[in-house]
């Protein structure tokens, strides 16, 4: 494409549906799969429901699509409740995990399917199919059957079929799950581009944190049927609210200790034989137990830094792995806490040997109470 918007895209710009979930619940035979999810999804937003399998993220998506009936709470699309509206009247685009392409229909017939249901005439259908195929970069594939396409191509056809009828909301259930890593990465970028082009609301379900971080405007981390934390990717990564979010979204080092006192938004604590500081969302009482969390790539060896303000901690190297773009060290602090440090590699960085005692240093701002 030349960078201009396709006709499908142009008509849709900035016209995504808003979705609001209010105390949404779903029980299967008494067992709560979704246990009170409230969420406001803005028009045109790319929101990702991120969570481990069984967390309730897919069930939530299925309730928005209308394939599951909520046990409690409400779902509103553009402020109108859709509870009780059958899926075929919701006008929502959906991409399934296994693509769900119709094997007995050609690519063109698959993409034309939603148009046919809406009584669009044959000529218009052909034009729109062509347009949708161009949008997912598969021009000329009309006459093929799904089984003649690769996984990535099938995925694009599923995407084209989900957007061809110009829905204002697109739901995606782990659409890249079955693809290999490289293809996944290129399709992630394409999804972002498509989202920007179409301007419609995307609700995306995945268990892959990298996918969530790459594509989303906001991420809702779902755990055990509830939203553990909601926010922009950077906010979630830098300020995880609890241990689950800190370890599910990226890797984290946890240091446990006792609170000594507070200094304007910063807690001072004794952890692993050192006095450490961390950003605290609320005041903590002296003597209380506290866990501080820091990302492995935010920690450095103090002797490699010109000036190392902030937290410092002595630890012994127990494992050193060179992984190309970075070195990954495993260290043991004096109290036995294991820490991971990821240091960007360069020809001049000194490799640490196993058994070496080193001092780690990292900024207070990169330390959070979880």
């Amino acid at each position: 494409m030349d960078g201009g918007l396709s006709p499908i895209a142009a008509t849709r710009l900035g016209r995504g549906a808003s979705v609001s979930l209010v105390d949404l619940e779903k029980r299967f035979e008494g067992v709560g799969a979704v246990r009170g999810i409230s969420l406001e999804i803005a028009s045109g937003e790319f929101l990702t429901l991120l969570g481990p399998s069984g967390s309730g993220k897919t069930t939530t998506l299925m309730m928005i699509a209308g394939f599951e009936t909520p046990s409690g709470g409400d779902i509103a699309i553009d402020r109108a409740s859709v509870v009780g509206v059958p899926p075929h009247r919701r006008n929502i685009g959906m991409v399934f995990q296994n693509y769900a392409l119709f094997p007995h229909l050609t690519v063109a017939e698959n993409i034309a399917f939603p148009l046919k249901q809406r009584g669009v005439d044959r000529g218009t259908r052909a034009v729109r199919v062509k347009e949708a195929l161009a949008l997912v970069r598969l021009p000329g594939y009309e006459a093929r059957y799904p089984r003649q396409l690769s996984g990535g191509q099938q995925q694009r056809v599923a995407l084209a079929r989900a957007i061809v009828f110009q829905p204002r909301l697109l739901l995606m259930d782990e659409p890249l799950g079955a693809l290999d890593k490289q293809l996944r990465e290129s399709l992630q970028l394409e999804m972002r581009r498509l989202h920007a082009d179409l301007g419609i609301t995307f609700v995306y379900v995945t268990h892959d944190q990298e996918e969530a971080l790459t594509m989303s405007d906001r991420i809702a981390v779902v755990n055990e049927g509830r939203i553990a934390q909601l926010g922009a990717p950077e906010a979630l990564y830098d300020r995880p609210c609890d241990r689950f979010v800190a370890s599910f979204l990226g890797e984290s080092n946890f240091l446990t200790g006792t609170v000594r006192g507070m200094e304007t938004g910063v807690v001072v604590a004794e952890c692993a034989g050192a006095v450490l500081r961390g950003v605290a969302p609320q005041a903590l009482a002296a003597g209380a137990a506290v866990t501080l969390s820091t990302r492995p790539e935010r920690m450095r060896f103090a002797d490699a830094l010109p000036a190392a303000p902030g937290n410092r901690l002595r630890a012994t190297v127990t494992e050193a792995v060179f992984a190309g773009e970075r070195c990954r060290y495993l260290l043991r602090a004096e109290d036995g806490t294991m820490l991971v440090v990821k240091e960007p590699s360069s020809a001049t960085t000194r490799r640490r040997a196993v058994g070496e005692v080193a001092e780690l240093a990292w900024p207070v701002a990169d330390t959070v109470v979880v």
């Binding site: 209308g66 059958p86 075929h88 959906m94 995990q97 769900a100 119709f102 939603p114 249901q117």
Partner: protein
């Protein structure tokens, strides 16, 4: 030949010999009589073409096969559809109920229909008790009885292939159709029905071919004026009219083979019921 390559031949050898001696030879000998008795000739077949009895019987046979096939398809498809949508436990129970008649002898089931349809059978007695009729209805020994009993007996042959194909359809497909705006009926007609056609065709063919050669049920519940082909063959064998019986057998076999052949050639039907491996 290596030992590994000769092993399969050795393994199927005994059965092949048995089949050749006790099945292939008698059948071929019988078929040969259709063109050699009393002397090499095609006159037997020429005679068949102008034979009023044969044409009537052949017509009855084809008509019965059509009605029974249509009946089992009409009754069986919804059952197969229901089976494919049930939870595992309910599906198993239903499958057992469908299969139950399968495990009962055709003879027993045909007698059961005689008990139901007879002059003093359950249906007539019930209707009389309710004062709906004065004289017993003639139900047994009619084409209706044959069609009813054969539909009942052949239903599993229709339900099983359809259910098996329906169950292989990815449940996310009708779901996706609904998500794209298809009504429940639209999703069925445009997605589930076309994808289940191989099963429906397999069942149709199976029931039709079995119907063509059905013997016991028409003999027990059918009327004397509505003979089926297999009954006529048996009758002629009883009368020791071998050339005529052989001709009829060849006709039945040919009709069956033509049908099977058609399924291999017709576009769309291929793959639905393919002999041999894919």
């Amino acid at each position: 030949m290596t030992q590994a390559a000769s092993a399969p031949v050795l393994l199927v050898g005994p059965l092949l010999l048995f089949m050749a001696a006790f099945y292939a030879f008698p059948v071929l000998a019988m078929l040969a009589r259709s063109v050699t008795d009393p002397h090499p000739t095609l006159a037997n077949f020429a005679h068949l073409a102008g034979d009023g009895v044969f044409l009537h019987v052949f017509g009855t046979t084809l008509r019965t096969a059509f009605i029974v096939t249509a009946g089992t398809l009409f009754l069986g498809y919804p059952v197969a559809l229901a089976l494919s949508r049930m939870r595992p436990t309910a599906a198993t129970i239903t499958l057992v109920i469908v299969l139950l008649p399968f495990w009962t002898s055709v003879l027993v089931r045909s007698y059961a229909w005689m008990v139901l349809l007879g002059r003093r059978g359950l249906i007539n007695e019930a209707l009389r008790a309710l004062d709906l009729i004065d004289a017993p209805l003639r139900l047994l020994n009619t084409p209706l009885a044959v069609n009813l009993a054969m539909i009942h007996i052949l239903l599993p042959y229709m339900i099983l292939p359809i259910a098996s194909v329906l169950r292989q359809i990815d449940p996310s497909l009708p779901r996706a159709a609904a998500g794209m705006g298809a009504t429940p009926w639209g999703a069925f007609r445009q997605v589930v029905l076309p994808l289940s056609m191989p099963g429906a065709l397999a069942g149709t063919l199976l029931v039709f071919v079995l119907s063509l050669g059905f013997y016991i049920t028409p003999a027990l519940v059918g009327g004397p004026r509505d003979l089926m082909l297999s009954q006529l063959i048996a009758q002629q064998v009883d009368l020791l009219n071998w050339p005529y019986a052989a001709c009829l057998s060849v006709t039945l076999l040919a009709a069956t083979l033509v049908l099977l052949g058609a399924t291999q050639v017709l576009p769309g039907v291929r793959g639905a019921f393919r002999l041999g491996t894919r």
